[in-house]
């Protein structure tokens, strides 16, 4: 099923069907947010969202300008700041501590282009439906098409880091999402192939 065939204007659906307080909408947007009409969530959506709502993702999609960290998602130590581009402030950048791979000796996690998701992609405090909407919202997602979103979700090394999060400073393995990388990638691809349908709550 092609996504274009089931496009419904997100704003109307969100306000009317979803009943969510989603006000940051742009009427001119050609968004590709879809909703299932029967209100049931597809299995692929649920599988995908088990990963995307996991703290390994949410910690770096914070609501404010400070990342979170750890299994308890505490505010990142040392008041680490987002900076202008999500890569930290000039003398305390993400890469001051985080390199392109996990450091098993220090327990500092790492992946290519380690940085914070932009403010518009703040997921902290959102539920899975809202996260999915934000993800598909071109005003928020960096003007990504659904194809680009799929690529980001399934190929980006920083995103896929959540399945290989390494050990923490105590040498204890970080908690992984409850879904394997393979199942997650399949779920994302299926969900998008199914039309990127966001079920109603």
């Amino acid at each position: 099923m092609k996504k274009s065939s089931i496009i419904i204007l997100a704003a109307l659906m969100l306000l009317g069907v979803g009943g969510m307080s989603y006000t940051d909408l742009n009427q001119k947007d050609e968004r590709t947010v879809s909703f299932s009409t029967n209100g049931t969530a597809s299995e692929s959506f649920e599988t995908m969202m088990k990963v995307l709502t996991h703290k390994r993702c949410i910690n770096c999609h914070p609501a404010g300008d400070r990342p979170r960290q750890g299994e308890d998602s505490h505010i990142h130590n040392f008041d680490v700041q987002r900076g202008e581009d999500g890569h930290g402030v000039v003398a305390l950048q993400c890469k001051t501590c985080h390199q392109s791979s996990n450091n098993s000796l220090s327990g500092v996690p790492g992946a290519p282009h380690w940085h914070l998701a932009p403010r518009s992609m703040a997921w902290e405090g959102l539920d899975k439906y809202e996260i999915a909407q934000a993800m598909l919202d071109k005003n928020k997602n960096g003007n990504r098409s659904v194809e680009e979103i799929e690529k980001h979700l399934t190929e980006d090394q920083l995103v896929l880091w959540v399945f290989e999060p390494g050990v923490n400073n105590e040498g204890i393995p970080r908690e992984k999402p409850p879904v394997s990388k393979e199942d997650y990638i399949k779920a994302v691809k299926d969900w998008i192939a199914e039309g990127a349908i966001i079920p109603s709550k």
Binding site: N77, F78, L105, E170, G171
Partner: protein, 725 residues
């Protein structure tokens, strides 16, 4: 290869004003010494002595070498006291320069090796270096001067009365000779019997804000710390320590570790396992691969600790009493308050460790330690060597704060070195530092007070329950525990200082904890002052009196009282106590006396987003006499910030049998953003000799902040670290 303090690898810098600590040539040396430790007879009463931090000097007299004159005309002072940031090398250089009659630039201060150099019988700690050396070191310098003049006179054939001392040169008439030349030519040195010290009015170097003598190596990143020490063909060791408290070693399987890359040997001693490898990283990885079986007697939790640290538990000893406080503190109008402070970590940046090289009949230990003598004794005992076969080479300390008054790490390094016959470099991991620290003990305080009809305090009593500080330390022989009864470290700052109050008492309750607690900069001073000075504010509030006036009205009119009064007045004046504050800001006040140095502080705080912010601190201090005003200011600034950190952020807890957290960040500490933007230090000189500076300014800060927060919000902070909700 670089050595520790006498590195000859230090790069040449053309901009360098001086080459610090470069011992260009140690040719002809002159040895001169005196037992300054003999100059401090135990005259004072035990309690008074302990309070003034003069405890533990022995009366041993050793004529050992303090000075060395190089052929290049530099004067090297071999310091038995160690430099951990407190600035004593500079203060000592000032005392020497003053009496020797040379510029401070001619004096190089180095850490004395334990081999043929002065060894401090006790420790560097207790804020007593400059006060303790005030007379002996100057006397020594005068002797040095007299002897140089005498020999110059002989060599030049000019009467000493016609000679004058320039900067490292002695001249008379048209002749002159350098110190270095004198030293290389003189054959006889006669120690003068009678000497005269300069009087205060003639001081040219003492009292000046001279930049610290170790400034340049510290700014340029020179290899001066224990962890920087190297020896040829050095290996790296790691010690495996128990994961929980109240735990003993049972057995270990290190078959896997032994075959790992770079591993030289795995050593099993009676109570620990150590790995020696070619690199630090290899040693670390191998240590992780060792499977140790530990036996934990009890899995402790924080609530267990909190239950036992309570006034009423453990052993009480009354440490101060005047009048009949117990009789008076009865009835409905008695005000009772409780306060507490948590377990504190030292969190100094350079981890503990040592570089050891043990051979058949000798051992060298390079180490940042506050107790070279005890380190030597312990290493000698461990290796079954004589003390004189063990050379301790102290280095600069990457923070001391009392943590380096215990050095079992030296013994462990020595055992690892002995096992492989090579020098071994062994340092704690940060996790080990946090879990195996000798912590600042948690405390619990109960204060009772009653106001008289005059609106002043009629009776007050302070009870403090604490883990051990001095007790159990190598610095405090067990026999003394019985003499003292109460732990002098735990109750430091725990006495009532407003001695015009007719009835007061203080009682110390000793509690044994299942983990090591000990010295932490200023010992009990921070927590005890927090409790007492907060309570004094509560009583002032109850009496409807200004907290500063309230304090001033209850100070006894004796020397100690007058000095305390002076700093309170000075802080209030400079800090503009009582001025109209902008909306959302308030002032707070507190004072304390420690190491014979009274300190008073005015703080200005605000509360933003539920966070206390300290904007300004005015600190008045009376260190008796100021040797180096800039060094005193630096100590006040540092102590204030360390005190802010301890009162507002720091806290260790026992979880699942282990001390936690184990990393900076999780162990919250003050950082740049938490430091006040204004710190104003006023120095009074209320005596004719110097007293302690390193610890006293840590006293008032916690209480001053709490008092300001009360004024601002009406909320009384009773537990450190402070929380508003």
């Amino acid at each position: 290869m670089s050595n520790t303090e006498n590195s000859n690898e230090t790069p040449k810098r053309t901009f360098s004003r001086r080459k610090f600590l470069l011992r260009a040539s140690i040719g002809a040396g002159v040895m001169i010494g005196v037992g300054y430790f003999g100059c401090n007879p135990m005259r004072r009463s035990l309690a008074g002595m302990a309070e003034e931090a003069a405890l533990g000097y022995d009366n041993k007299f050793d004529a050992i070498a303090w000075f060395e004159v190089t052929a290049d005309n530099d004067i090297i002072l071999h310091s038995p006291k160690v430099e951990m940031g407190q600035g004593i090398f500079t203060g000592m250089a000032q005392l020497v320069a003053e009496e020797l009659g040379v510029s401070i630039g001619k004096i190089k201060v180095v850490h004395a090796s334990s081999m043929n150099r002065p060894v401090d019988p006790r420790s560097t700690g207790g804020s007593d270096t400059i006060s303790g050396l005030w007379v002996p070191l100057r006397e020594l310098s005068v002797k040095m001067r007299v002897m140089l003049l005498e020999n110059a006179s002989k060599i030049l054939g000019v009467a000493t009365s016609s000679l004058s001392i320039g900067d490292g040169v002695i001249s008379g008439g048209d002749k002159s000779i350098s110190f270095g030349e004198i030293v290389s030519q003189a054959t006889e040195w006669n120690e003068p019997k009678k000497i005269t010290l300069k009087s205060k009015k003639d001081f040219k170097v003492i009292g000046k804000a001279i930049p610290r003598v170790d400034l340049e190596p510290k700014v340029m990143g020179d290899p001066i710390f224990g962890i920087d020490a190297e020896m040829p063909d050095m290996h790296y060791g790691v010690i495996v320590r128990p994961p929980k408290i109240d735990t003993v070693f049972e057995s270990a399987d290190f078959s896997k570790a032994e075959s790992m890359p770079g591993v030289i040997k795995v050593v099993q001693e009676s109570d620990f396992v150590g790995v020696i490898a070619k690199s630090k990283t290899q040693a670390n990885l191998a240590a992780q691969a060792i499977e140790v079986k530990w036996k934990t007697n009890k899995v402790w939790e924080q609530k267990d600790i909190e239950e036992i640290i309570k006034v009423g538990k453990g052993k009480p000893v009354e440490i101060q009493k005047s009048g009949s406080p117990k009789r008076i503190l009865n009835g409905d109008d008695v005000i009772t308050s409780e306060y507490s402070s948590p377990i504190g970590a030292h969190a100094h940046l350079e981890p503990n460790g040592a570089v050891a090289f043990v051979e058949k009949d000798k051992a060298i230990i390079k180490i940042s330690t506050q107790v070279p003598k005890f380190t030597r004794t312990e290493v000698a005992k461990t290796l079954d060597l004589k003390e004189e076969q063990v050379e301790i080479q102290p280095t600069f300390l990457g923070g001391g704060f009392g943590r380096r008054l215990h050095t079992p790490n030296a013994m462990q390094a020595a055992l690892l070195s002995k096992a492989v016959g090579k020098p071994v470099h062994v340092f704690f991991s940060r996790k080990d530092e946090f879990q195996h620290d000798t912590f600042r003990p948690p405390t619990h305080h109960v204060l009772k007070g009653k106001l008289g009809e005059n609106g002043l305090i009629e009776a007050i009593e302070h009870h403090v329950s604490s883990g051990d500080v001095a007790f159990g330390s190598v610095l405090f022989p067990q026999a003394l525990e019985n003499v003292f009864g109460a732990d002098v470290g735990a109750w430091r700052g725990g006495m009532i200082q407003y001695r015009a109050i007719p009835n007061f008492s203080a009682t110390s309750w000793r509690v044994k904890l299942p983990f090591a607690t000990s010295w932490w900069r200023s010992l009990g001073l921070l927590a005890n002052t927090f409790a007492i000075e907060s309570f004094i504010d509560e009583l002032a509030d109850k009496a409807g009196k200004d907290p500063v006036e309230f304090r001033l009205a209850q100070i006894k009119d004796d020397e100690r009282g007058r000095r305390l009064k002076a700093v309170i007045e000075a802080a209030a004046k400079k800090g503009e106590w009582g001025k109209k504050m902008p909306e959302g800001r308030a002032q707070g006040f507190a004072a304390s006396t420690d190491a014979n140095t009274p300190v008073a502080q005015v703080v200005e705080v605000s509360v933003e987003n539920n966070q206390i912010k300290v904007h300004k601190v005015t600190c008045a201090i009376d260190p008796g006499m100021a040797i180096n005003p800039d060094g005193i200011k630096a100590q006040c600034e540092g102590a204030i910030i360390m005190g802010i950190s301890a009162s507002m952020f720091e806290k260790m807890e026992v979880k699942n049998g282990a001390l936690t957290p184990t990393i900076y960040g999780a162990y919250k500490m003050a950082r740049m953003r938490h430091a006040p933007k204004e710190i104003d230090v006023v120095i009074l000189e209320g005596a004719d000799k110097p007293s302690g500076v390193g610890e006293p300014p840590l006293g008032p800060i916690g209480a001053a902040i709490a008092n300001a927060v009360f004024k601002l919000t009406g909320k009384r902070l009773r537990d450190m670290p402070f929380k508003l909700t």
